[in-house]
Amino acid sequence: MIQKVTFYAALGLLAMFVLVALLGPYLIEHDPLRGSLRARLEPPLWAGGTMEYPLGTDRLGRDMVARMVTGARISLTVCVVVIAIAGSIGTAIGTLSGYVGGWLDRVLMRLVDLALSLPVILLALLIGAVSGPSFGNIVLVISLVLWSQYARMSRGETLRVKNEDYVDLARTSGLGHAAIIFRHILPNIAPSLIVVATLQVGVVIVLEASLSFLGVGVPPPNPSWGSMVADGRSYVVTAWWVSLFPGIAILLVVMAVNIVGDTLTDRINPALRGRTA
Amino acid sequence: MSLLSIRNLTVRLGRAAHAPAILEDVSLDVQPGETVGLVGESGSGKSTLGMSVLRLTPPLLAEGTSGEILWNGQDVLKMRGKALRQLRGGEMSMILQDPMASLNPVFSVGSQLGEALKRAGRADLQAAAEAALAEVNIPSPAERLRSFPHQLSGGMRQRVVSAIGLAQEPKLIICDEPTTALDATIQFQFLELLRALQKAHGMAMLFVTHDFGVVARICDRVAVMYAGRIVETGPVREIFRNPRHPYTRALLAAVPSTREAPDRLPVIDGAPPSVGNRPEGCAFHPRCPLATDRCRTQPRMEPQAPGHDAACWHAKEVAAA
């Protein structure tokens, strides 16, 4: 019962965030990139601020509401793109590895192990230093970290599905490998991958925040929640709202996504419980 | 007095009164030294019944349990803490269905057997453990005590599980399909062993199975379950020769035999209902050739012959057929 309530609450929250991200530009009054230095670090409404900036302003006098909304757009876009890229690469490698087996499997899985041992943040810094921080780089770097999770999961799931009798049956019908993979394997491993994807949303957002902290995150002036928290860290005491609001947004999204992910795991494939992300 | 007396046991999926019931109004007695078979198809609630007796059901089902389970006159459902632990292992024990999963993979056979023997207050654990393994026909017991479960074959594991179950010399042992996972020849040997041990220790046994062959071989009495209820109980021969419930009769007829090869097997149409979808009244009526409107109300267990009860409005017709 409690579980059901939290699940729907989480789902509602997520829907709201997605809606905000989609409708972003129509919801905001101020330009998220433009501010007025004279109005910098204005507190939120209830802490002595004005109606003009209900959630206050940041260190360059930009409207926090506008930046939060735009941040939702950017952060969620990063998530979606990263998960799409890491997901498709990882799934392709994992499925192939599991389906073909043999030495290919061994080599690919070693590669996955190696990917896990990459000191990610250092790589990110290096890559960031090579070509400067950009949306593309962040996506690249985070995908580089996350693909291995999909590879592992899809390999394991492929091995499981491959042993299902319907795959053997398809083979006895003379179906080609591609047909078997696309018709029989991928649709059946998809639910588990979706669970991984939901659980990774949080990882992506937080990783992006850490990269922003180190100066290789989403480049300014464009706000992501992560870079907003990073920017606001020097104001934890003097202007708490700068980092707190995006921080809370991250917290809520990550928790909601995890609750949804957990519930989905329970429903889709309880055997995966806890084995992901 | 019965050793175990189950009275109107109902187990629902949760506390709510309207929650689907896995077991409904089940009553069953086991006398000292007797072997009672509990047969029924998958999902009929056999394991739930067995586990309820030892209070092993998961929290959801434990919440939804009502009725009485009397052990020597005391209600097991009201026991807690120490009394319950005294009962488990000590007076009542259980052998589970899956020999592969019932042993903890990370502890040696010796340590798992030792835990049980220690509770039984044995002094020399090593010797006692060896003796216990020897009793279940495990060769070179001393060596085996050091083995881990994965190093044993299925049959051997099941024998270790029985040794653990019997370690505290219980008065009643509940066996939940202990042979289903075993090969035919191994099953045969295990059943023989079980029967011998039961005789030697004078235990009563509640034997859960779906295999009429097994029942015929080892049981004194049988209870047939369908959709969460006991529909017929009676002495083995009586049930096999003279079933009074159409379900029992149809089931017995549907079992193929090595002795003859009929052209077709008599069948029961349809499939057993799942827990949430049990029909009103007699749950068997949608599949029953004898069903009438009356069957939409729940029949009660009525005596058919000495010690033979059945819950069917048409028991007489079954007998006549």
Binding site: L37, A129, G132, G215, P219, P220, S234, T238 | -
Partner: protein, 494 residues
């Protein structure tokens, strides 16, 4: 803190954490200045005062300097005795040696021809070109020519860089924990120059500014450089702010306008036109930026480095209309797109913020800026690779103790770093170089400043202060200018 007699100073970085003057950057002066001393010290106005040299003179044409050393200044290691001409000669030769990593090494190498020691207490430096500011410019406390003990260093050979340093300063190194903590203790007896009140001084490397501020608030650190935005919070908590005034100059440099070097010149850039450069200067409300981002701690800049001779050169006022006019005249009535690269240094955390602020103002006049954050090494190595760049970058203008050096570094095509040159400017610089009269030099320098300002050789922003948070246990302490660290003069509160 007070009760345990240790002055704790939290620094963003120890840089190399090597211990000889020539084995690394000037950032190490924060701790090395307590150990090594200089021939010359500076007063509050930047004038030379005697240091290890009691007096000095230069010849007519400014090519030979003679330093007379102070008698009886003992090194911290007894075996070294007192400072002699040989020690000074060795220190200078070492800092201009080929493997020297000191900041001014290459210019010094160019200027200094030889160092001689006519007697034990006299050092003569022969120059290859006239230099009238050698005393404060290269031998002073703002630079890296700390005097080491020759016998000690030679005895250590290769290990000297990491061995405990031996100098004449009031403190000696106690421990140095890599990347974490450097502790120095006060030497026994009276010191010729200072009378330190703190028995020991401990430096902590704390890269994160928020953590440094927390240390000040928690009383764990007594002195720490802080960012301008932290000032209000610190003041509320009774932490006082001590600033080195106008010591650095955040500036925006424009690529591709080294006009006298074809390789580094791109006439197609919008800002190849002087009117565009002027417009970019007019378009920014620098005073507001100072008030808001620099907590009012600075003045509007008229050049890229604080030079006294430029005191009367007027900065560009904020005049967006004039900016639009100039842009239109130059053929960019609708503005243009540009890339502005930025990075943070320590100190200098405000640069990215400043970039964003400049972009805000430029957007008002139609200049559409894409900000690309990066890091100093890569931007710098690109900038100095000898090509024309089509972007602008924020820069922490360098405070040269010798302003002529600063001018040369930024505006002469001899410097690999130069950002703007012109034939006219090269002439002006040549004129300055050949001038031997002090007052005339000053005039020529002013002229150069005015020229660079009029040509808008960069987008000048702020002559900024460098603020330090100072805890209640510290009594009297002030800091005059960057690269001059006087933690040995910090007082103790009652």
């Amino acid at each position: 803190t007070a009760q345990d007699d240790t002055l704790v100073i939290a620094l963003p970085t120890f840089s190399e954490q090597t211990m000889t003057p020539w084995s690394g950057s000037g950032q190490r002066k924060t701790y090395l200045d307590l150990v090594y001393e200089y021939l010359v010290y500076l007063d509050g106005d930047g004038n030379a005062e005697p240091g290890l040299a009691e007096s000095w003179e230069l010849n007519e044409d400014g090519t030979q300097w003679t330093f007379n050393l102070r008698e009886g200044v003992p090194f911290s290691d007894e075996s070294c005795g007192t400072v002699t001409a040989a020690d000074v000669q060795y220190s200078i030769e070492r800092i201009i040696a080929e493997d020297s990593r000191a900041g001014p090494a290459s210019t010094m190498r160019r200027i200094i021809e030889s160092v001689e020691t006519p007697d034990d207490m006299t050092v003569v430096i022969n120059l290859s070109a006239p230099d009238f500011l050698l005393d404060t410019g290269y031998m002073g406390e703002a630079q890296q020519t700390g005097i080491v003990c020759r016998s000690y260093v030679e005895g250590l050979g290769e290990d000297a860089d990491t061995a405990p340093p031996v100098g004449t300063g009031a403190y000696v190194l106690e421990t140095s924990v890599e990347g974490s903590e450097i502790t120095l203790t006060r030497r026994e007896g009276d010191h010729w120059r200072v009378s330190p009140e703190w028995p020991s001084i401990s430096f902590r490397a704390v890269p994160e500014e928020a953590t440094r501020v927390a240390m000040l608030l928690a009383g764990e650190a007594d002195i720490a450089p802080v960012s301008f935005d932290s000032i209000p919070g610190l003041e509320e908590a009774d932490i006082s702010i001590v600033s080195a005034e106008q010591t650095w100059s955040p500036v925006i440099r424009l690529g591709g306008i080294v006009q006298t070097d074809p390789a580094r010149h791109n006439p197609d850039l919008p800002w190849a036109d002087v009117r565009v450069r002027q417009a970019m200067n007019y378009a920014i409300d620098k005073q507001t930026i100072i008030d808001e981002l620099f907590a009012g701690q600075g003045t509007v800049a008229n050049g890229d480095t604080p030079v006294q001779a430029w005191a009367d050169v007027p900065p560009y006022p904020y005049d967006p209309d004039r900016a639009r006019e100039l842009l239109a005249e130059a053929g960019y009535p609708d503005g243009f797109d540009m890339v502005l690269r930025t990075f943070a240094t320590t100190p200098g955390a405000e640069l990215p913020l400043m970039a964003e602020a400049a972009a805000l103002y430029w957007a008002d006049v139609g200049i559409n800026v894409t900000i690309e954050p990066g890091d100093w090494p890569s931007i710098r190595s690109e900038w100095t690779s000898g090509e024309a760049w089509n972007y602008a970058m924020t820069h922490r203008g360098f405070p040269f103790a010798n302003p002529e050096n600063g001018v040369e570094a930024g505006f002469s095509d001899r410097s690999i770093f130069a950002s703007f040159t012109s034939a006219e400017l090269e002439e002006l610089l040549a004129g300055l170089a050949s001038e031997t009269d002090r007052d005339a030099r000053r005039e020529r320098l002013t002229e150069i400043g005015q020229y660079i300002r009029d040509e808008a050789g960069a987008v000048f922003m702020v002559l900024a202060n460098e603020p330090y948070g100072v805890g209640p246990d510290v009594g009297d302490w002030s800091i005059d200018t960057a690269y001059v660290y006087n933690f040995d003069q910090a007082g103790r509160a009652e």
